[in-house]
Symmetry: C2
Subunit: 344 residues, 2 copies
Amino acid sequence: MSNGELSGFIGRWLPQIEAEMNNVIGSRDNSVAAHYGMMRYHLGWADEHFHLRPAPSGKRLRPILCLLSCAELGGDPSQALPAAAAIELLHNFSLIHDDIEDGDEMRHHRPTVWKVWGMPLGINVGDGMFTLAFDAIQRLTQRGINSKATLAVLAHFTQTCLTLTEGQFLDISFEDRPVISIDEYMHMIQGKTAALIGASVAIGARIAGATSAQETDMLQFGQAMGLAFQIQDDILGIWGDPAITGKPVGSDILSRKKSLPLLHALNHPQIGDQMQGAFALPVDESQLESVMKLLEQAETRRFAEQQMANQHELALAALEAALGPRAASSPLLMLAEGLLHRTN
Amino acid sequence: MSNGELSGFIGRWLPQIEAEMNNVIGSRDNSVAAHYGMMRYHLGWADEHFHLRPAPSGKRLRPILCLLSCAELGGDPSQALPAAAAIELLHNFSLIHDDIEDGDEMRHHRPTVWKVWGMPLGINVGDGMFTLAFDAIQRLTQRGINSKATLAVLAHFTQTCLTLTEGQFLDISFEDRPVISIDEYMHMIQGKTAALIGASVAIGARIAGATSAQETDMLQFGQAMGLAFQIQDDILGIWGDPAITGKPVGSDILSRKKSLPLLHALNHPQIGDQMQGAFALPVDESQLESVMKLLEQAETRRFAEQQMANQHELALAALEAALGPRAASSPLLMLAEGLLHRTN
């Protein structure tokens, strides 16, 4: 599959993913229309008066990966549509709740659900969307997937949901601790980010009828890609071009976000103490330069880029194990690498 | 089954319900032990340091109803244990989130989860427990329930979760409206309370291998009992004996809770306007007497008791349809009536 063919694949399947999610959300009794209207708002389909008005939304990376994985392993992507929809609904449920937990007021340039309708309804809308993710998975039986295979997908999906809440638990808990080890951090992003990307491709593979070894390889491919994405995000959060990221230079330093580069510096044998001292105080822009210099001293950027490259290599090896020599020209790799070379 | 036999049934199965839930929650990696520890706290198994210390908890009414229903329809209650655990976990997940949404600080004489650990972790613990409810349901296959039947139970369970979020949506939305119709109120408690009690007995019946007509009858029995319980709660919230309920006389009037009796009065052709006037202002104890007099004038208590009796009658008819003449001596009825004649 060439780059053009990848675009063709996305162009063909993205509308079907949206249609599947739309079917799952359905049209309901008028008295509860707003419950589902809030979901449509969050997904970028409607405005805050629930009028159909497309708005910027997520890239639907996970469901596309799920369908691509299914296709690459010889399956029919249409059979995987219910799982792809479930994965995207799960991802979006977690965003609705994360926005409340983090107090984030904006997402994709629009006010978040809780910001528009309040915290109580926001929590409850998330719960509704979480339920619909489980509803979606069960629709696999309508696409010719037998009961036993549907339950196997469901089991992986459920385990992924649990891992997601564990990752979120760690992320919230880390806020109150001055220093987190690199291992702890990797464990957290494994739960919060990598597990679902891994599940997306592994579930796609299973629906295609892949061997269990291929499914495991795909899981590892997705998880490693997920870790690489997250580390790249962390790098951009400090060294990203403000003109492209839309965030100030050193954004994550100013917000004292415990991202991988900062944890590298905080745990560094030479500069750790200085970093911890700087982090104990509110970091303002005047101190930014000195923190950036400490990161340079610790060669933090090189460390983070190395970590990202390691995950990228693991991902490639896992994909080769699953697909053989075809891996190098797989659209899965193309999609993954396209995302890794983004600059915002 | 006599009253003594009902106690025997509960004594035998309650520990197994707790054990099943405990298995589902499991023991996990040390780094996330607190995530599951908070669940154990909420369920009344542990204190806030996660030390095993039993505390007052819920009555486990729903899982007991599920197992009783299974037994009454000739099934083996042990096969229904995973469903019973799932139902109780779902109920408790909804309590954890409701407590956040309502700002409630105490439950069963202990601080609520969010009150102890904060709102962000509270939401996330609820999400984790919700996930475990779905995990529990899937364990039916380990008890000899085949894949297809497990998926059928899962479909009912998922629909019930969705109805629960719809009921909660209505409940929250009602707060901002001065008057709600009786129909709207019944729709709300159908979602928030009755649907899950209905599902408890219907799922127990299905696992026993009941006919689909029996399953529907049991669903109606449970839903009608659920409505009757809720209306009774509403009656006790106004006329309950403070010495028994632990709440002041007219508690629901003082908190301006839009319960069935108050909605009856607010919608009443004669006294509605006066009630709405009184409700527009903060109601203090000095006004309590005049509101109580208005309720008397409108014969509100008689109305609410009649509504409760109607649901009770519907429940009995549905149980008779499911069980035939045995219904009158069924422990399901005994349990239900025992709960209806409680005074707190």
